[in-house]
Symmetry: C2
Subunit: 433 residues, 2 copies
């Protein structure tokens, strides 16, 4: 108590004051509405998980540099979840036999990663996770991509605001193994180079490839591959399974009218160990925010790390920070005022009980009613309601109370009416629309 | 990947499968609805806070034995929040001058405490926090107690299911200082003994008092005090400010018809350092669960630990685990099925695109529609819908598609109808009611 504490939140995290929290709740409600239109059901797990859950599968960068991990008082090594998929896999594995399949689940957990805070990156963030498990065909990828598109559209995004860029991991494997004939080490480094390609000059990209031991001929072939539209891919890679899956995928999304927002892009890699089939990333098309917003794909080996049967899965994770940047840059963030409907003012200290009774009566009918508790000048009470965006103020003075009356002031129009208390509720409901 | 991972969640935490998560979301929605009827606004803060925030104020037991704390990779000492009030105080202090007062805020954060898991106690739980800041009079306590009562009633609790037991810290201080004339050390120990009184035999209570250095005369006075109804308290303590505040409080709640669920109980202590005025606890009255569910009170010194002005506050915290036990024992937990309305079945692989188009059409109109993606026997598709509680299955075969028809099976009645696709949506909406 002696020295003053800082009022700042922990670095890289956010305080959600009511205006921010309303926006967050609005956003999450929109996301829930979108995914439940596809029959996805909500789940959640604990924010702390055994350390081994991440050590087993997640990329090394996350475990070694970004994971919040520590030993608890019972000397168990634990970690604050940096992503939701391992928890999902653990929960599905625990009830693999009882759960009706396919499994359509979503969650909006808070996740943690220790990194330098910057635009779009914080230490605590929330992430919508959408996963469809138990379907082998690309119909699953087509559904999950539809969910991603619809939720952006439901948030107000127009047809040219974003683009879904799509690739297939097997197509890349065939390129690396059969065409370029890379060693496993080379494959890792070439994949990483492709992942960086959109953000670096072409010379730097070629330097990375040369450093990975690629010959000029290999670089030429790779460049030709990366520049080819989907239909010219077989001329380079032959009839890859990945090619066939991509064709089927595009047949479906084209037939559903989603072709114009979907595009084949063979530079899309996403985490190398994780995905096994189609991968996709949603790109913001706004000139001020040209970046990948979120992405996902097919992962067929995840549930199996707990033993028992493999269950194929397709999913994506969408972070709230990048999503808010997207909505912000496109002017899609709403202004949300508090939704309190009535302020029951306090005429004088003696009127507290009648005012409180009136407030209880209105609340019992479902209205959202704040009540003034301490004597204040009436002008201040009106001012307060105005500042809070509360449209109606109800007040009852001693004379009114004796005559069974109350007054309503509509702060939107400035008009004031006196009305019988028995008609008050009905009149307020009309005025609130 | 080599050795199998455990599918168990971390000790003392819960996995929320969809049926559990639906219940949690239902519960939180009820709580939000109740508190927003009083004009309370949502807020949230980060789950990690600087360690000092708790070291400064929270009771020693929590900091030394129950706090999850560790050093981050930048060597900052941090803690997983064990309670929300310090975060609330920090946030209010940071904007003390800008915020319109009174401040009515609520939050439902996840909180952490390291302890042995048992009935009603877990390591991760959620807690509704309701706080009213900036009002000095007991009108504030009367409002916050009303909120607590109404939210239990809105959850279905009847008039005899729970009781609000009320005391005042100044009344106890007057008893300890002026009547019993205890030293500060004795006061601590006597307060702790009173806190335990309801759970131990009377002999053990007296042993604790004797160990605290109380004479038999002091014990007799204390027992007389604890047995006295409110109106007889002045005969023991004189006209304590605490007595006056309690009288005013009961005048208000009686006038509002809440007297029957509120009772003065001078054994209610709650944390000794924290509260400064009225304190209260909600007791479950069910014979199988006679225990304190949650409580709160007035704390007037909290925001000031950040420097700047004091802001008086009244609030309570209600944990989800004890609340669920309460609802469970009173039979108030609802059965919540998934809310998907229509399953669009798949007649044959060739019908995927027409079926998907139909599903998109129905979703665009606002229906919650799951679609079958892989060929399965029709009986299995009906079975799946039945297991998931989806009432209607829509199917379109090749002949139907050619004739512009679709069939609807209502799994509730077993009836099947064939209908023009142009009338499908309207018919489904009628069938869903």
């Amino acid at each position: 108590m002696s020295n003053k504490l800082s009022t700042q939140p922990y670095k890289g995290t956010r305080d959600f004051y009511p205006e921010e929290q309303r926006l967050r709740e609005w956003l999450f409600a929109q996301l829930r509405r979108s995914v439940s239109q596809y029959g996805y059901e909500p789940y959640d797990g604990p924010m702390l998980e055994p350390f081994e859950l991440y050590a087993a599968k997640t990329g090394e960068e996350i475990v070694n540099e970004q994971l919040y991990s520590f030993s608890d008082r019972g000397d168990r090594k634990v970690a604050m979840r940096p992503e939701m998929t391992p928890t999902l896999a653990r929960m599905v594995a625990a009830r693999a036999n009882q759960l009706a399949k396919p499994i359509r689940w979503f969650s909006i957990p808070n996740l943690w990663r220790y990194e330098r805070p910057q635009r779009g990156r914080l230490r605590e963030h929330w992430q919508l996770n959408v996963d469809l498990l138990g379907v082998e065909g690309v119909e699953a990828e087509a559904e999950v991509v539809q969910v991603a598109i619809d939720l952006l559209r439901n948030l107000g995004a127009g047809p040219t605001d974003f683009e879904v860029q799509i690739n297939h991991r097997q197509l890349m494997n065939d390129l690396f193994d059969k065409v370029l004939k890379l060693s496993p080490d080379q494959t890792q480094n070439v994949a990483k180079a492709i992942d960086k390609r959109a953000k670096i000059p072409v010379e730097s990209f070629h330097e990375l490839l040369t450093a990975a031991g690629c010959s000029q001929a290999q670089i030429d072939t790779l460049e030709k591959f990366l520049a080819s539209p989907l239909l010219e891919i077989p001329a380079i890679c032959g009839e890859s399974e990945g090619f066939k899956a991509l064709c089927r995928f595009f047949d479906i999304v084209n037939a559903l009218g989603l072709g114009p927002v979907c595009r084949f892009n063979s530079s899309i890699m996403r985490g190398f160990d994780y995905y096994t089939g189609i991968v996709f990333e949603i790109y913001d098309q706004h000139p001020d925010n040209r970046r990948a917003l979120f992405g996902g794909g097919r992962y067929d080996n995840l549930v199996g790390m707990f033993g028992g049967a493999q269950i194929p899965g397709v999913g994506f994770g969408m972070g709230d920070v990048t999503l808010r940047d997207f909505l912000d840059v496109h002017g899609l963030l709403p202004e949300l005022a508090a939704d309190t409907e009535v302020l029951v003012g306090l005429f004088s200290p003696e009127m507290l009980v009648p005012s409180q009774q009136m407030a209880r009566h209105l609340r019992a009918a479902g209205l959202k009613v704040e009540a003034v508790l301490q004597p204040q000048k009436l002008a201040k009470q009106f001012q307060y309601a105005d500042k809070k965006g509360i449209p109606l103020v109800v007040m009852v003075g001693p004379d009114e109370a004796a005559a069974g009356l109350a007054s309503i002031k509509d702060l939107r129009s400035g008009q004031q009416v006196s009305i019988s208390q028995s008609e008050l509720l009905a009149r307020l409901q009309v005025m609130l629309g």
